[in-house]
Assembly symmetry: C2
Amino acid sequence: MAQATFEEISASDFFYRNRDIAGLTNPSRAIFVAIREIVENSLDAAESQKIPPDVYVRLSYEGEATKETQIYKLRVEDNGSGIPPRFIPSAFGQVLYGSKYKLKQARGTFGLGGKMAVLYGQITTHQPVFVTSSTGQEKIYSFKLMIDIQRNKPIILDRKVLINKDHWRGTIVEFTLEGDYLRAMPKIIEYFKQTAMVNPYANITFVDPKGRLYKFTRATTIMPESPKETMPHPYGVDVELLQRLIQITTCTNMLDFLKGHFHRVGEITAIKFLIFSNLISFSCREHGKIENDQIKWVDSRPSCPSCGKTAEYSSKNPKKLSHEEIVRLMQNLKKYKDFLPPDASCLSPLGEDLLKAGIIKELKPEYLVVHQRKPSTYAGHPFIVELAMAYGGDVPKRGTFVIYRFANKIPLLYDEASDVSYRVISVMNWRRYKVAPEMPIAIVVHICSTKVPYKTVGKEFIADRPEVRREVANALREVARQLQHFLARQEHVHMEKKRLGIFSKYLPKIAEFSTTLAQQKRLPDIDKLLKSVQKYGAEES
Amino acid sequence: MAQATFEEISASDFFYRNRDIAGLTNPSRAIFVAIREIVENSLDAAESQKIPPDVYVRLSYEGEATKETQIYKLRVEDNGSGIPPRFIPSAFGQVLYGSKYKLKQARGTFGLGGKMAVLYGQITTHQPVFVTSSTGQEKIYSFKLMIDIQRNKPIILDRKVLINKDHWRGTIVEFTLEGDYLRAMPKIIEYFKQTAMVNPYANITFVDPKGRLYKFTRATTIMPESPKETMPHPYGVDVELLQRLIQITTCTNMLDFLKGHFHRVGEITAIKFLIFSNLISFSCREHGKIENDQIKWVDSRPSCPSCGKTAEYSSKNPKKLSHEEIVRLMQNLKKYKDFLPPDASCLSPLGEDLLKAGIIKELKPEYLVVHQRKPSTYAGHPFIVELAMAYGGDVPKRGTFVIYRFANKIPLLYDEASDVSYRVISVMNWRRYKVAPEMPIAIVVHICSTKVPYKTVGKEFIADRPEVRREVANALREVARQLQHFLARQEHVHMEKKRLGIFSKYLPKIAEFSTTLAQQKRLPDIDKLLKSVQKYGAEES
């Protein structure tokens, strides 16, 4: 029997062989994914510059491919940051190359989607991709590219330089791919609709192969705060990361190292942690060495227990830590309970106002409640859950709640049942809140994070991490409670209306008869009486 | 505002940053995935040599890591093929390197799992992996390795060579990792149990951290036919694959190219396809050029319509095809309807007997029906669905069907609701078959393929491909029908028993009275009478 033979494959080759895991399962899904990935890159590119995005998408029919599939040309134009010319070939023609490998919230997280779409176009139509971009400087650069899949390298077929008279800034991507637009259409339109809902500051235009125009106009030009790049939080590190930090650091002691490379670790926290993990030693000029557990804190400074003077301290050079010490350091970082939670400056949630604006624009609900949770963290990654519940209006009655899921402002449209939000919603005790799935209720969940815990590269659904689950559940309870108040109030108002109806029907009669009986001429003021039994404001009755 | 910066990351770095997509979501899941991946490599290594596998797994407690997690040492020994020493470092220390990138059924498909487990061990405990292996030759090789994640290269820390006196063959892998065994335990035990069910020819031993021994002894030494490596089927090719084949081929014409590089394409099929796609031209020595649509087939040979002599033909050199011609060729390969379906020689299904043996061993059902579908194909990949339905016995009554899912003999234990089988089962019209989810019914689905369409690298569930869905549904209908017969028959037998019970109770009395009345002495033979009203064989009543 033959021995096994071994071979090495490139990263593009791996994804070429396993495109199911990037969501490119079939011709219908492929065209959806391709549009989504390129549009998201455009939105990211505009937002990174705090420019309200203008994204123009055109899909045009190019010919028949097989009996069920067609060849389409996809063209996406944006007004984003633009890409410096030296990066363009690799940004579109090399898998695992990109600008998204940072601790910062972005729609793209794998640095893979755009390239996978281009790669899919190439293997189905064997046509190059055209990329035109300018960062707003004097020149516009235009590339014609293909991917060498076996080597994972871009092939530059052509390169042009144009004068940028109008100082245009942005990127245009155009390539052909095989797909099944007719089957993908509902999801694609839904995708644009939902994207418009959570990006109310974006103009999005889509021209489909039949020439139909879908235009989503911005409702505001106010943009959420841009997310900032951040340092890793101590709870999220592993040995590999520690080693990399030690390799690149210029710090010569552990205290500076902790302060300089970790999120929300200041002087005091760092010292206390170093005491906790026994990586620091103190001494007093007068009284000599101080044991770690003897340290007294005076004015937030570690001080000598005998004389109260600020103690001197020294800690090891991180570059001199042994393997075992690095492992112990990592474990202690996870064990230590007093690190500050990550702050949300690296996150860009929508905010309650923007979320409201988006939902009102699309669903026009009778009642809407929006709730943003405080920043939380899983495995050291900060995240924020924003949740809204809309009742009535244009919300369809389906017999189940209508769930809109978003992650870093991306609508998630597939595999709902596997998503953490769906699971939380389906196990909630809704009866407690007098809410039933038969009511016209839409639930909107937005999770933003520097690292959304997707279960698939195709970004279909979010993993059931306990920390995320808890936040979603708490947010859900909060809005459910408010909806319950609204519904109860609505019922009271309804009862009240009925009661007042009866009063206002009979009181005039009674007043009339009583007046006659009392042989009076002037009728008493019933309005006053009616108002006095009214429990709620007149505008509601 | 700062411009985006671009960077390149290695394949191991990508998976290091995105371990969720390989299933390593949390400490409990991680330990499950690590065991599974290494065990599956062992099973593959033994099966590739048609040796009944002996796999020994030991997980031992090494110490505490954090409050909820511990450090474990995982050791897996097998009697498989062994790995030649020059391949060992990369096989365990380089992502996207391996022996699994072939068109052949194997448990591993991504060439990723084992390395991901090792990588996870390294980043959580920073210890090396120890690999000892021999192919049964004179020497045993022992390596101590770590992975350089940023460069995606193995680092050899130590290497030993021992004399292999006993001609031992196999591989031993040992490394430490952080995990949560207590929470993972139920799934791990279930994994071994189900693995034993579909690999009844394997001996599997598992010693857990508490020293408990789980032993699954083989029920047979008969092994299913080894799968063979195969060529790509014409329906599954894309432009990239065509180009690679054209690059490596030594064929100088299209006819030989098609015959030499594609699965089940022989002379006649190739000629007919070339006529279909207008890539061949015919001529007759006497009558000159023959139009493609004029060709007459005589004795399975393309012949001259005028004289009936076998025509001569010529086709282009594949290396001279233009880009456009390659694209058209790919499209025609997909359009052409008369390619033979892939044969199953590259697949290794369990077969009905082995599947039965495994299920009987584990579930001891009252009734069992097993059905194997004919080979089918999706996107050019052959696959076979095997399905069993077990009723009663040790099958638990849960109020829903108990579903066991397998793919290439791997049990799939997570994300059931997203799996194609679950979806098919849940939309079946069970009432038609007089079957209710409340009955004690287990459904076992085994899908084997050269390329199982997993949705995730973590191999949790199978994508909803229409072709796969159809095969599962057909198999399900078939076994449901048979179960229906059994249940109907069981009910009849039950009724019959009741009826016969009444007869056998009253007939002797009637006979006695009649005999007395008729003043006879000898009682008539009631047994004969009873037998004549019996509808079913005596063994059932």
